[in-house]
């Protein structure tokens, strides 16, 4: 029995167990941390010979399955704030469209790729370091607490929230805040995601935890929900405009990832919020280290395929 399968759009034969394993690993991370995993899976697929454009498009399709499974699992546990997710998505769609236009402008005037790569490393590195430090402090119990009689000044976001209109109660998250804030966060993440070509979970999760003060487990479930809707749109656009979605590749990845997301969702309940945050921070920092190394080391071949007739 052959364990290899020919991918008709990618034009390459790959090992089925390898793809199932890769899908499972990324789905697991999705279930635990609420990130889509595209920033891990796309480079891994390129490494095994999948053309980059097909890898990116097929991963979007796979994320639909993983996030469907993960969202349902988290919804059962009461971790999905649909109202919050809808607002994040609304901002994300507008931000994504702006991000695409920014990229087109940058490519016309100069080298956009340098800016994108450096921004990715710097931004991801800042997020990872901040999350790691904050989670470590929290785990050690060294977080600054108000001493008796001392008034704690409200932070910038809290002051901004009271000044903004359209106060909305989000019962699932246990917060009341201006609806403008999640739309703005969705817009920011959507713009950055479109520029960097990633799902944005690594940025969305810390922003929701630290700026909106949402509970970590609800952030995980809510982010999965909005990524599900976003990736449905991206998959359709990639298939219709670029013809780069390999459904066979996506099917193998999603078989593994849907299972992994379920396992990850179950495991996430066994960790405390700070433990989840510090683990995610470690993964982000490892990814940044890998990307930085990739920038500094000469590639084997100086050409990478965009398209062929």
């Amino acid at each position: 029995m052959s364990f290899f399968l020919y991918l008709p759009i990618a034009g390459i034969s790959v090992s089925m167990p390898l793809l199932l394993g890769m899908g499972f690993t990324v789905g697991f991370l999705s279930g635990v941390f609420g990130v889509g995993g595209g920033f891990l899976l796309t480079p891994a697929l390129i490494m095994i010979g999948i053309p980059p454009t097909v890898a990116a498009a097929s991963v979007s399709n796979q994320i639909v399955a993983a996030t469907t499974s993960g969202t349902l699992a988290h919804r059962r546990m009461g971790h999905v704030d649909v109202r919050m997710g809808a607002l994040l998505l609304a901002g994300g769609l507008v931000g994504g469209a702006l991000g695409v236009e920014i990229i087109r402008f940058l490519r016309r005037v100069g080298n956009a790729d340098f800016l994108i790569k450096i921004s990715y490393v710097v931004l991801l590195g800042m997020v990872g370091v901040y999350m790691f430090q904050e989670s470590l402090r929290s785990l050690r119990g060294a977080w600054m607490r108000a001493s008796p009689g001392r008034e704690v000044r409200p932070g910038v976001i809290a002051r901004l929230n009271t000044a903004l209109p359209w106060q909305v109660r989000f019962p699932r998250s246990g917060v009341t805040l201006s609806g403008v804030l999640p739309v703005a966060i969705g817009f920011l993440v959507g713009t950055v995601s479109a520029i960097m070509g990633v799902g944005g979970g690594f940025l969305m999760v810390p922003l929701l935890v630290y700026l909106l003060r949402m509970p970590m487990h609800v952030v995980v479930g809510t982010n999965l929900f909005q990524e599900l809707l976003l990736c449905m749109g991206i998959t359709f656009l990639q298939a219709d405009f670029n013809r780069t979605v390999d459904a066979v590749l996506a099917l193998l990845l999603l078989a593994g990832s849907a299972l992994g997301a379920q396992m990850g969702a179950r495991l996430s309940t066994k960790f405390g919020a700070d433990q989840l945050k510090i683990l995610l921070a470690c993964i982000i920092l490892l990814t940044v280290a890998g990307m930085a190394l990739d920038l500094l080391v000469r590639p084997d071949v100086l050409l990478s395929l965009r398209s062929a007739s």
């Binding site: 290899f4 399968l5 008709p8 996030t67 078989a255 500094l296 395929l305 965009r306 007739s309």
Partner: protein
């Protein structure tokens, strides 16, 4: 003593009508053969590359080269370069009319006509392919791009030069026989390929035989490929529905209990 006028016509007749083989050199075409198996390769769902069996015959003291060449293809690449300490995309390069695949296998004794010559002097190898390739891009160095392009293709198993890899097996009489298994990677694009046997004597090509090879998608890969190209919107919707269904199925399968 010079030949008399009466002898001259007879001598001329002998020279004109004696078969060439009597002069000591056999016509090479008579002892050349090229057979490839299979002639058609079908790419189905379980396709993982193929092995092309090549059987060749050539004159006893000749040297041979086997070429596999694909149709010309255009491809667009991102070119990486160093900016400061960082490697990144610095431009776009188009490579036109390069063969989809190029493989060369030669016998051990095959050498260029001159001591400092190369396979290119025999019109073989990358040097024979490069003159037909066009490279387009802002400020690109053609020689550098061609080198990187050939490395790119070699990494995917589509370009290959194997000098001295053909060793004669059991032959008979004035004929030597070469057998070769050519591994064809799964990345070999569908299309038509030519397999050519070149025969050389004393650094000069004296014979050429060609056979055609076709590689084509078949069955489910062909169906899906056509669906993706010709009904792209429907294909996109189908991909989404399948993904949703798979995610839902797994979620129902696990059926996690809700928390209090």
């Amino acid at each position: 003593m010079p030949p008399t006028p009466a002898v001259l016509p007879a001598l001329l007749s002998v020279l004109l009508f004696t078969p060439a083989s009597s002069h000591g050199a056999a016509r090479p075409e008579a002892s050349m053969a090229l057979r490839i198996t299979p002639r058609h390769i079908d790419i189905t769902s379980s396709y993982h590359g193929a092995s092309l069996r090549v059987e060749m015959e050539a004159p006893r003291h000749a040297e041979v080269a086997l070429e596999l060449r694909g149709e010309p293809q255009d491809a667009v690449f991102n070119q990486e370069g160093k900016v400061g300490p960082v490697w990144m995309d610095v431009g776009v390069v188009t490579v036109r009319d390069a063969p989809r695949a190029y493989m060369l296998f030669t016998s051990a004794g095959l050498h260029a006509p001159s001591p400092s010559g190369t396979l290119g002097d025999l019109k073989l190898g990358y040097a024979s392919v490069e003159p037909n390739i066009r490279v387009e891009g802002k400020g690109v160095e053609r020689a550098v791009i061609l080198r990187e392009f050939e490395s790119f293709k070699e990494n995917r198993g589509l370009y290959r030069i194997s000098e001295g890899s053909l060793s004669p097996g059991k032959g008979a009489g004035d004929v030597q026989r070469f057998d070769l298994e050519v591994p064809l990677p799964s990345t070999l694009p569908p299309g038509s390929y030519s397999v050519a046997l070149h025969v050389f004597e004393a650094g000069r090509q004296v014979g050429l035989l060609e056979r055609g090879l076709s590689v084509r998608k078949k069955g489910f890969p062909l169906l899906l490929f056509r669906l993706a190209r010709e009904h792209a919107a429907e294909y996109g919707l189908l991909s989404i529905l399948v993904a949703l269904a798979a995610g839902l199925f797994v979620a129902l399968l696990f059926n996690l209990p809700t928390r209090a």
